[in-house]
Symmetry: C2
Subunit: 121 residues, 2 copies
C-alpha cells in the first residue's frame, strides 16, 4: 500500500513561519527519498491547507495510508484533541483509508541530545 506523510503544524498569522514549515516539508521529502508516495504539510489553523484538505489530497493522489505527523512541542489540547478531531472528519468520509497519527515532535527521545548540541558548550 502506498503511504504518504503529512506534516501538521499549528499555522501562523506570519507568512514567513508558514513558509518555514513548507521549506521543512521540502527537506523532509528530499530526505525521505522513495520511502513515501508523497510528503506534504497542512495546518491546524491560520494557514492553508487545512488538515482534512491535506489528508484528502494525499488520498486523491493515490495513497492508501496517510501518516499525520504533529510538528508540535507539547502534548496540549492541539495534539490531544484538535488534530485527532480534524483527522476524524476524513475518516468518516473515507472509511477505507488508513490514517495514522504519529507521536508529536516534542515526544521524541532524541530531543534532549539535540538541545545540548544546539547549546554548543
Amino acid at each position: 500500500m502506498k503511504t504518504s506523510l503529512l506534516l501538521v503544524a499549528h499555522g501562523s498569522r506570519r507568512a514567513a513561519s508558514n513558509d518555514e514549515v513548507r521549506r521543512l516539508t521540502e527537506a523532509l521529502a528530499e530526505r525521505a527519498g522513495e520511502r513515501y508516495h508523497g510528503v506534504s504539510c497542512a495546518f491546524l489553523e491560520l494557514a492553508e491547507p487545512s488538515i482534512p484538505d491535506g489528508v484528502r489530497a494525499c488520498l486523491d493522489a493515490g495513497a492508501g495510508e496517510v501518516v499525520v505527523l504533529p510538528f508540535f512541542l507539547s502534548a496540549g489540547r492541539h495534539v490531544a484533541e484538535d488534530i485527532p478531531g480534524e483527522v476524524e472528519k476524513v475518516r468518516a468520509e473515507r472509511p477505507e483509508a488508513r490514517i495514522r497519527i504519529a507521536p508529536y515532535l516534542g515526544a521524541a527521545d532524541a530531543i534532549p541530545a539535540l538541545l545540548l548540541e544546539l547549546a554548543g558548550h
Copy 2:
C-alpha cells in the same frame, strides 16, 4: 568560567504543558552531567520564572556565562525579538555577565531525520 544552561519555552495556561518543559529540563540536566554549572528553565509568558528571573538565578548561583536555549519551532517574533529583548534587561543590569542566545530548536539540522524517525514507516 562556569556556564549554566537556561531552556526557554513559550509558557502555557495549561499547567501540564509547563510541567512537560520542567521534566524535559530535568532530562537535559541528567544528560548534561557535569557539562554545565546548572540547567534550568524559564518562560516567555504565562508561567514562572520569567526569562530575566531565570538568567538572574543562574548568575546568582555562580555562573559567569548563561546559554539561553529557545525551545521554539519557528523563527517568529518570539525568537527574533521577544527573547533577545528579555535577555537585554539582564545585560543592562549585569554588564559583566556573558549571556549567549543559542539557535532555536526548529533550526537544528537534525529535525528532518528526527521527524522521519517519528513517522516510523
